[in-house]
Amino acid sequence: MIYFDNAATTFPKPPGVARAVFRAVEHMGGNPGRGGHALALQSARAVYRVREQAAALFGLDRPENVIFTQNCTHALNLLVYGLLRQGDRVVISDLEHNSVWRPLCDLRRRGVITLEVAETSLESQEQILASFGAAITGGTRLVLCTHTSNVTGTVLPIARIAALAHSRGALMAVDAAQSAGTLDIDMKAMGLDFVCMPGHKGLYGPSGTGMLLIGCEQPLRPLMLGGTGSQSQLETAPAGYPDRLECGTANVCGICGLGEGMAFVRQQTVRQLYAREFSLLQLADARLRNCKGVQLYTPEPRLGTAAPVLSFNVGGLSGEAAAQKLSGMGFALRGGLHCSPPAHRKLGTLERGTVRIGIGAFNSVNEMWRLCKAIEKLQDWV
């Protein structure tokens, strides 16, 4: 099976990731933060190392403001339910994933917040900025938007949107599900207050890992309460991070694996990984754009404004049907709505979905050629 579903989760992982998980299972027996014995401290140190790595990779001063979560969805829910309060106004884009869309719709349905959707352009960064400029008013509390669409690959100019948000008194949060490890993110330089990300996609960690990075002083309410190993006599969660937002035993093995994944990204460098994946994207785009019967939904990719994902359809097939046929030919791609109905509504593919190529660090030119050939063959069957 040739794997092109890296936008859902990356595979394979760098070999060091499995070794790190194995080492943690074998040797990190203590529960971090739950005791003073050597094994507990050893685990706590291992977890702290990964906090430091994440802080360094994403331009965050305080390692304690790296909050480990189960995934990006968990991080986004921590942010949305932990920050927003009655009467808040929130601005998002029309490309959001359900991890942003559903929690915010829940709060809107319950009359807690009002929600404004900024229309994006697949072609013009200036138009995206203008659209956010019109949507962000003085009463906006939070701008929460995806860095890159998981359907179209469109990269949003988050640093410029953040500057706009701050100039109008709003906080800036980013869903980096598709960009963490793929595009440069420097929270301090870009002015980002919160960044949510999975550990198992572009950071090449194991599934069950994610992070919420907090770059501002705004306190968040915890989503869950329980044991933290600290200030146990309090009836409430401790005030300081990370304990405030991390209760229950940490996923030490997963976090150690994530540390190794991030080490891989730092060693390869985000820029090189992106440049390589972008060249494969260009290759696929050029070949499929000229293929009769294949429909693409995005303009020709440009460096820096397109993430390495490509959505398409073939003939009259639904996205799921095409993905199923490709699976039978030995290719792993994802069909359907990709948990992002707003983006599909925008593309006009809400009824049909699309098939998505998600490119990763371990895909080769040869694999991409074989995939394109298979897609062309698919057209013969339609």
């Binding site: 003073g36 401290l41 140190r45 190993g229 200030q231 006599q233 005030a239 300081g240």
Partner: protein
């Protein structure tokens, strides 16, 4: 030798604090807080080889909040 005991609210701050001090050439042990009342329950403490004020200054500059300082006996 009497050493100060600096209570911190979490193991994360304990490790961060230990590293800040060690980077300044000050050896420091992490111990579990024995005085539950002082920290509203469980927690950790730093036992540095320097005086409390010096340690606190370094920790404060590095963003580590010390919840309370105890003067401990030779047992530590």
């Amino acid at each position: 030798m009497y050493r100060p005991v600096l209570l911190v609210n979490s193991v994360t701050f304990a490790i961060k604090g230990q590293e800040l001090l060690q980077r300044r050439g000050i050896s420091c042990r992490i111990v579990r807080n024995e005085n539950l009342k002082a920290l509203n329950g469980c927690g950790y403490a730093l036992v540095p080889s320097c005086d409390a004020q010096t340690a606190q200054n370094i920790l404060r500059c590095g963003g580590v909040q010390v919840a309370r300082v105890l003067e401990a006996g030779a047992a530590l």
